[in-house]
């Protein structure tokens, strides 16, 4: 199961989709909207994707993980649009015969997702400002878009 959705993620169906009599272990990861980041307060996150490419990359991540671990089934669902505090942004589930592989594969898929899948989040801070999160790029305030770029 690979899916981008604007609806609430039903992580039980994501989990059920990977369960198998041939697996002894299932690891489910949920990313959730956290209130505090480096001392700043979030009220919501907005997720945007390049959908066709994101789905392709998610499928590649699962194939890559399957080439490295004996994965029975894997599923990734990522939410898009506006998410309130505590809501689930992503669910990743993997099943494997043995537990260590499930943890390793699940974590690997998450790390790679954050590196290569074209999905972006925008912080909606409690002070009313918004800010796209782009790792490695200095924060450019949305409220001053005409400011000269800092090199």
């Amino acid at each position: 199961m690979i899916q981008l959705t604007h609806d609430v993620i039903d992580y039980q169906s994501v989990t059920e989709s990977v369960r198998s009599d041939q697996a002894g272990a299932v690891v489910l990861f949920l990313g959730t909207v956290r209130e505090m980041t480096a001392g700043r307060q979030t009220v919501a996150l907005e997720y945007q994707a390049f959908p066709q490419m994101a789905e392709t990359k998610l499928a590649e991540l699962i194939e890559e993980a399957k080439s490295r671990w004996p994965i029975q089934n894997a599923a990734i669902v990522h939410r898009l649009g506006r998410l309130e505090l505590g809501e689930i942004s992503v669910a990743v589930a993997v099943s494997t015969p043995h537990r260590r592989d499930a943890f390793a594969a699940g974590q690997h898929i998450l790390e790679r997702l954050k590196e290569v899948v074209p999905i972006w989040k925008q912080e909606n801070w409690a002070d009313g400002t918004t800010e796209w999160v782009h790792p490695g790029v200095n924060a450019i305030s949305q409220s001053q878009p005409d400011q000269a770029p800092v090199q």
């Binding site: 390049f50 992503v90 972006w120």
Partner: protein, 81 residues
């Protein structure tokens, strides 16, 4: 030649639109696109060093040759999860 580029996230916000057109030399490469894009859309210069380019659904490196028929997207580093 004229290339239509789909933008995402901060790049879309800075350009103020989802798609922009960029003029690059015939048989230009991704590196040419990045340079031309920032020249023709100077509000995006803060992202210049960070822009990623995709052709179709794959990342393209600076040497990739572009054609007007390609579906090209340009965006800053991803932050899903």
């Amino acid at each position: 030649m004229k290339i239509t580029v789909r933008l995402f996230a901060k790049a879309r916000e800075l350009a103020g639109r989802e798609r922009i057109e960029v003029e690059i030399p015939v048989s230009g490469r991704v590196a040419d696109l990045k340079r031309s894009l920032v020249e023709q859309w100077p509000q995006m210069s803060a992202l210049a060093k960070h822009l990623l380019v995709a052709v179709g659904t794959n990342y393209a490196d600076d040497q990739t040759v572009l054609s007007p028929a390609d579906e090209i997207a340009c965006f800053p580093p991803v932050s899903g999860g």
